[in-house]
Subunit: 328 residues, 2 copies
């Protein structure tokens, strides 16, 4: 056979079994994993499907593709106040896959498994002729009975977000060569890296359990996602657009082209957390967050009504349509 | 917009939310599901990725594509002695997807959810430009501490299989127009249906818990899968090839072309269970199975050694290579 690449069984034994040393996974020798969450914990499960040249570029560094696939799921877990537990990986390899690509991809998985204390539990490897496709199912742990879900947010809750907004969407523009001329290379690199490597805010998960009515990760753009959260609890999301936290690099972009504020407000891929916090919890919430290495900023409020209201002199709703990234 | 098809959010609300009435799924309004297995139960999780024209034909009936995607996972759960609990669906829709296709696909999901008491917990819907891709993560329940895994099988165990062998592989030949001339239409339909609709042997799950050392579903062909099971417990799989249970339709095929025995022994997609049963459990195992609407047949034995031995006058190992379906 001209094709010297490994077959499925060999590929699993060689590349993936070393990632699955935990006893639940039986070194991937089996088709299924048994889950025994510790006493006092429930499991949270989430799933994302990612396609080359739809959700990432086929020629992105394989290590970063792997890390992003895990991190978008870790971010969903964080939004539920869940501690990372483990994941299953569905890997659809295109016809032209290469061993050195896979080596780099697997090293990305291994490094994030360590960073986030996350284990590989199982998965499936198949052929996906035209393009790499990835499916990650992530499992997390929450104290039994804990249910941070959107419908618990209430009118009067303040809306907070973690980190800074828009870096990933601007990084994507940079990846496409569409950032304004005159950007510094450092800023452009910073933004591209934020697009490649979201930072799941797992360190906020426990705080969310105690002080937050509802949380979600901002994956499809702040405005669209805030509207979704508001809709789920029958309220209007009032967003203080001029309070939105921006990185130095994002500010530099706006100085060159202020219209790009709409990309910042509606662009996807940030994976920062959007949180609804009641007035009585607000101080305790801020006190606890201040002990973590991540900042949060008040960016709005849930009010009586429906839809979205933006308060800013510079921006009206029609400027920023569409509100969010649509996968269709 | 010329494209009148629904966007992602509308698509989920319209088609998938009605399938997710269980409280764990929150009507799919959220990005994650909370799992609370009943006291005394552990969760088992398994995952399959399926690509159009790799694992099924893009022009197969959508209802059957949906059912097969669930059933190959239900079969993995049955092999672990697990009762169906729920699933997450990753749906990658090709550029040319049609609403009536989706209606039929969703009806297949709904009908199998009812038949197998299986609930939709969540998922993800994305664009998969060239071909439909499906990712199913299935969760099942086993009594706490139960671990039916291959390495527990022992030399001396008898090998049993459920149902009949080879129908799906012959059905695939039929789907490709490659069955021998002279088949009756009824037999051809029977085989094609066995290819489209595997029957996960969930009714054996509880019996497996009590009387079986190891079990797996025969997805990649009996010979290859038996060798895998044997390897995992350091034994040789001796298969009594002339004892293998055949349907009437499969017998009719062999009368027309006896060489197709190699397709029967090594073809994939049957999703019958292969089980290792110790001598002392054998009678109790058979007694309990006899109360279920599925037959089992003794087809071999785990013996000292390694690899595979076939006992038959008609067949040698080299006749039947490759031993199993390889996804690469």
């Amino acid at each position: 056979m001209a094709d010297k690449r490994r077959g499925e069984a060999e590929l699993i034994a060689h590349y993936f079994a070393p990632l699955a040393s935990d006893k639940e996974a039986f070194g991937l020798r089996d088709d299924a994993a048994f889950l025994s969450p510790p006493a006092g914990y429930d499991l949270v499960v989430t799933k994302d499907l990612l396609m080359a040249d739809v959700h990432f570029f086929a020629n992105d560094p394989p290590r970063k593709i792997a890390q992003k696939a895990l991190r978008v799921n870790l971010s969903d877990l964080a939004a539920k106040g869940a501690k990372p537990y483990g994941y299953l990986l569905g890997l659809g390899l295109p016809n032209d896959w290469k061993e050195d690509w896979l080596v780099d991809f697997v090293s990305g998985l291994g490094s994030d498994q360590k960073e986030y204390d996350f284990i590989l539990l199982g998965g499936d490897t198949v052929k996906s002729p035209e393009r790499l496709s990835l499916s990650v199912t992530a499992l997390g742990l929450v104290p039994t009975g804990s249910r941070i879900v959107r419908p618990k947010a209430k009118v009067g809750d303040s809306l907070y977000m973690s980190g800074t907004l828009g870096d990933a969407a601007l990084g994507l523009l940079g990846r496409l060569g569409k950032l304004p001329a005159g950007m510094s290379e450092d800023d452009a690199n910073y933004l591209r890296n934020r697009y490649w490597l979201p930072e799941p805010r797992t360190q906020l998960a426990e705080i969310l359990q105690s002080y937050v009515h509802a949380a979600m990760d901002i994956s499809d753009g702040l405005l669209g996602d805030a509207e979704k959260m508001a809709k789920a609890c029958g309220a209007k999301a009032h967003i203080y657009t001029d309070q939105v936290p921006l990185s130095g690099a994002a500010k530099a972009v706006l100085e060159l082209d202020e219209k790009l504020i709409s990309v910042i407000l509606s662009g996807g891929d940030d994976y920062e957390l959007l949180m609804a916090v009641s007035e009585e919890n607000e101080q305790a919430f801020l006190n606890h967050v201040s002990q973590q290495a991540v900042s949060v900023t008040k960016i709005g409020r849930l009010e009586t009504g429906e839809g979205l209201e933006l308060s800013s002199n510079k921006l009206t709703l029609s400027d920023s349509a569409p509100l969010s990234f649509e996968h269709f």
